[in-house]
């Protein structure tokens, strides 16, 4: 008929997905920048106690972690059930703490060395004996700013 005749059937036009990769990339970059990889794999049981008066540790780069607790189930055959100290990725003894403190201090800038917080992640079932020993070692190594890692709760019970 006329030359303005519509060609064939006109369906719904497909949604343009050309911008989809851009959106995904944006999200990807966000997570890539904010992500902090888990540096250590836990070798000890670590269920920290709960407290009401907790404060946040602001600068993650200025925190060094010391884990104390029973070895996890898988390792109990080899290491027994007595509480152990884990520094970085391995079980260590009390004598290694001084060296650990030095290494953590060395890894940071001169100005930040005295601002390191030593976060004690201790399992709630641990007895105080080993914790006190660790504290004494830290004291001798001049690592005085401690954090007892706890989870926040509204109320504590007896």
């Amino acid at each position: 008929m006329s030359k303005f005749r519509k060609k064939g059937k006109k369906g719904q036009p497909a949604v343009n997905t050309a911008a989809l990769p851009d959106i995904v990339f944006m999200l990807l970059f966000f997570f890539m920048v904010t992500t902090v990889m888990r540096e250590t794999s836990l070798k000890v049981e670590n269920k920290t106690p709960k407290a009401t008066e907790v404060a946040k540790l602001e600068q993650k780069s200025l925190v060094a972690y010391i884990y104390i607790g029973k070895p996890i189930k898988k390792l109990q055959a080899a290491f027994g059930t007595a509480p152990r100290i884990q520094l970085n990725d391995a079980f260590k003894t009390l004598e290694d703490i001084a060296l650990f403190v030095e290494m953590e201090k060395d890894a940071r800038d001169q100005v930040e060395r005295n601002k390191i917080t030593w976060s004690l992640k201790v399992d709630e079932k641990t007895k105080m004996g080993i914790v006190t020993d660790v504290k004494q070692k830290l004291r001798k190594a001049n690592a005085l700013k401690l954090n007892y890692s706890t989870k926040k709760t509204d109320k504590i019970s007896n």
Binding site: E53, V54, T126, L138, A143
Partner: protein, 200 residues
């Protein structure tokens, strides 16, 4: 010679690859920051100098045994009662001869004020559980925080926690925060642990 046509690279699967990476980072990312009770250890002292004598009335004695029982000022109490007791002690009472003494101290922004000479002495056993230790620490920190909040509210019309949060923004607030801190200084002394009573 005929020009060979270069076919366009198909970028359709780019989104898939990006998705894959995105999911990887979503899973591995940890957003939570560590929280906890922040404490300072005392530096190592020379043993040659004997510690200055402290009057019994200025010391609030807390003992925790291996069975996680509390003895406060010679009285057996529950951990939930500790906060109120500690608050009463830290605040002190000038009319009560068993409560801590006061020392007139000059504090910027407050002038010369009586500051109580309280010291909390905490002693735990080697067999005390870490959970109990944290509970006691938490109650003590809580007692100080509550008193500081009350005092800051009364003096500056803002709770202490708010002063701490905003202390970075102005020097005036920081000064106020320091004044409150000086009025109720946190003095928790931890004795070297002893192996007393109770089994491990």
């Amino acid at each position: 010679m005929a020009k060979r046509e270069i076919s366009e690279i198909n970028a359709g699967s780019m989104a898939d690859i990006a998705f894959l990476l995105l999911i990887f980072f979503l899973v591995t990312t940890t957003m939570d920051t560590d929280t906890g009770l922040i404490r300072k250890l005392p530096p190592v002292l020379d043993i040659t100098e004997p510690p200055p004598p402290i009057k019994q009335r200025n010391i609030f004695e807390i003992l925790v045994n291996a069975n996680d029982q509390l003895l406060v000022e010679g009285e057996y109490i529950q951990v939930t009662e500790l906060r109120a007791k500690a608050k009463e002690f830290i605040k002190s009472d000038p009319t009560n001869p068993n409560m801590p003494e006061f020392k007139m101290t000059e504090i910027p922004r407050l002038g010369v004020v009586p500051v109580s000479k309280q010291i909390i002495s905490l002693q735990n056993d080697n067999g005390t559980s870490y959970e109990m230790y944290i509970k006691v620490q938490n109650e003590l920190v809580g007692a100080y925080n509550e008193l500081r909040n009350e005092f800051a509210q009364q003096k500056f019309g803002k709770p202490y926690t708010e002063l701490v949060q905003k202390s970075g923004s102005s020097d005036a607030i920081k000064e106020k925060m320091k004044a409150v801190k000086k009025f109720y200084p946190q003095r928790i002394s931890e004795a070297e642990p002893k192996k007393v009573g109770g089994s491990e």
